[in-house]
Amino acid sequence: MISSNIKRGSAELAILSVLADQSLHGYEIARRIEQQTGGALHFTLASLYPLLYRMESRGWLRATWGETPAGRARRYYRITAAGRKKLAPLRKEWRELFHALGRLAEAHHA
């Protein structure tokens, strides 16, 4: 079973990664992550919003209200300088973790 810290870490990495180039609203964030991970990572409303709010309160994301073309209120998230600063070491940590797990798996096969 994957610990909640690892799950949260991977979710934070996913959100920061999709917001690295552009600002997006909540549903679009969830959709992009699902598309880019080939469905391996799937967010629902209950898993996405507490995380977005937490990341916003930590200053990694900034949200602003805008409007949809239909005139509906919509909140857009963008990554902040603090978020970018967090993204680089987070990417490195995960890359190292996957390399380590890969080595472990190969050693087990040998």
Partner: protein, 233 residues
């Protein structure tokens, strides 16, 4: 078509959200649910099935409202720390540090006002000159973290606590009744202190407070100027 904002508000009903905060969260969740529903319809699902899918997502986690409230509370506390406590305490410490370094370095040029009169006010001039800068730094720091005008003023005037500390601690005002009660203070001395108290208050509290306020107001006036629309050409 469902009113998703009402559904979301109903979902957040039993939480401790203040009305304004709940409306804002409900509006955001409604937009998400609207998208879930319309996306499912674009993929060929019937309207009723698409709406059911969004409805199920809204009710998937029974603790959704409590979780969102907890995270928002954390955010509010973080904001208060960043906007008030952190700049306020840092400037308070810096105010005290400047005062002590001025005194230790013997740069405390005391300006005596009212020389030769019954009243005399001692003002630590170098320290006084530093106060508008410190007040402005605290207000600016607070503003940079998104604080409103009242919090900027509160952060800028935080060193007021030190002033009162100096006032009560310096001339021994706080311990005066105790010393009088135990006979360690002559009545004449007490009368002398009472006579000078207003001037000590003026020199150590009122004038430094005005200096801090000057710095805070300079930041507030800048923020007003940036808010003012540019005049028409």
């Amino acid at each position: 078509m469902r009113d998703w904002e009402r559904e979301a508000q109903r979902r957040l009903e039993n939480t401790n959200f203040p009305a304004a905060g709940r409306d804002e969260v409900a509006r955001e969740l409604a937009d998400y649910l609207e998208e879930v529903s319309s996306d499912a319809q674009h993929r060929g699902l019937k309207e009723s099935v698409s709406e059911d899918r969004a409805f199920t997502e809204l009710h998937e986690d029974p603790h959704l409202g409590a979780n969102l409230f907890r995270v928002c509370q954390e955010g509010n506390m973080n904001d208060r720390t960043k906007r008030l406590w952190l700049p306020g305490f840092c400037i308070l410490l810096m105010t005290e540090a400047v005062l002590y370094s001025v005194q230790l370095g013997r740069f405390d040029y005391l300006l005596w006002l009212g020389q030769g009169h019954r009243w005399r006010i001692a003002i630590n001039l170098p320290w006084l000159c530093a106060l508008p800068v410190l007040g402005a730094v605290a207000a600016y720091w607070s503003r940079r973290n998104g604080a409103g005008r009242d919090v900027q003023v509160a952060a800028g005037l935080f060193p007021l606590l030190v002033f009162f500390g100096n006032f009560f601690g310096g001339p021994g005002v706080a311990s005066l009744p105790v010393r009088l009660a135990f006979g360690q203070h002559s009545w004449g001395m007490h009368q002398l202190m009472v006579m000078y108290l207003p001037w000590i208050l003026l020199g150590w509290v009122i004038i430094p407070l005005a200096a801090l306020l000057l710095g805070v107001l300079s930041v507030l006036s800048q923020s007003n100027a940036s808010l003012r629309p540019a005049p028409d050409a």
